[in-house]
Point group: C2
Chain length 122, copies 2
């Protein structure tokens, strides 16, 4: 019972973890539907490999829909599934909390807080 309590959180994390998932989701949400190449253009730093794998995971979780047009050259469109929209409030909550937390970190540490510092000495 106590253990299950975490399962929930980790399941949710699972979907957002991965260097590019939030960014990808953000763009798809913004544009309703995007082609593979359009996502590449919007996120220039991402490699095809990562874009593919992250999209596959989102698709597996039924968050993103992948529509393939059987034509040459290939055309594939990605969009948020109906079910995937149930994730939006959570994303929004995380987004708001995250931004206010950035503010909090700024108040605590000033300009030079270690955004990604793992080895913190006291």
């Amino acid at each position: 019972m106590a253990d299950n309590c975490n399962g929930g959180i980790e399941t949710a994390l699972d979907i957002l973890i991965g260097k590019w998932k939030p960014v990808i989701l953000f763009h798809i949400i913004e544009n309703d539907v995007l082609r593979f190449s359009e996502l590449q253009r919007l996120i220039p730093e991402i490699t095809k490999k990562m874009l593919t794998s992250q999209l596959r995971e989102l698709e597996y979780h039924d968050i993103v829909h992948r529509k393939v047009y059987p034509q040459v050259p290939p055309k594939v469109e990605y969009s948020i599934t109906e079910y995937g929209k149930s994730l939006l409030p959570l994303l929004s909550t995380m987004h708001k909390w995250g931004l206010s937390h950035l503010q909090h970190l700024h108040e605590l540490y000033g300009e030079n807080y270690q955004y990604k510092e793992k080895n913190i000495r006291q």
Copy 2:
């Protein structure tokens, strides 16, 4: 502007990412205050190293408070900070969504969905 939109989510993720952070938080929340050794007992699989580093990160983000009793043998107590409590609604939302998502995955894939499978073939 569009980029900032992600900053928020990634900041929030940052705090929960790490193999043990959700479990640790869960136990501290449940018990109000826990000693280092008590956390070890509650999460037997975790190593001291990981427990230490994850607690340090949570402390750096002002989510967890570390109270040291200057005595021998040492005694250290961990608890959620006042500010850290602002994270609880988010945790709760994630927890609920995550559990219902597990249900959804079960409906989609039956007993044998690949909880952590990264390489999905269609």
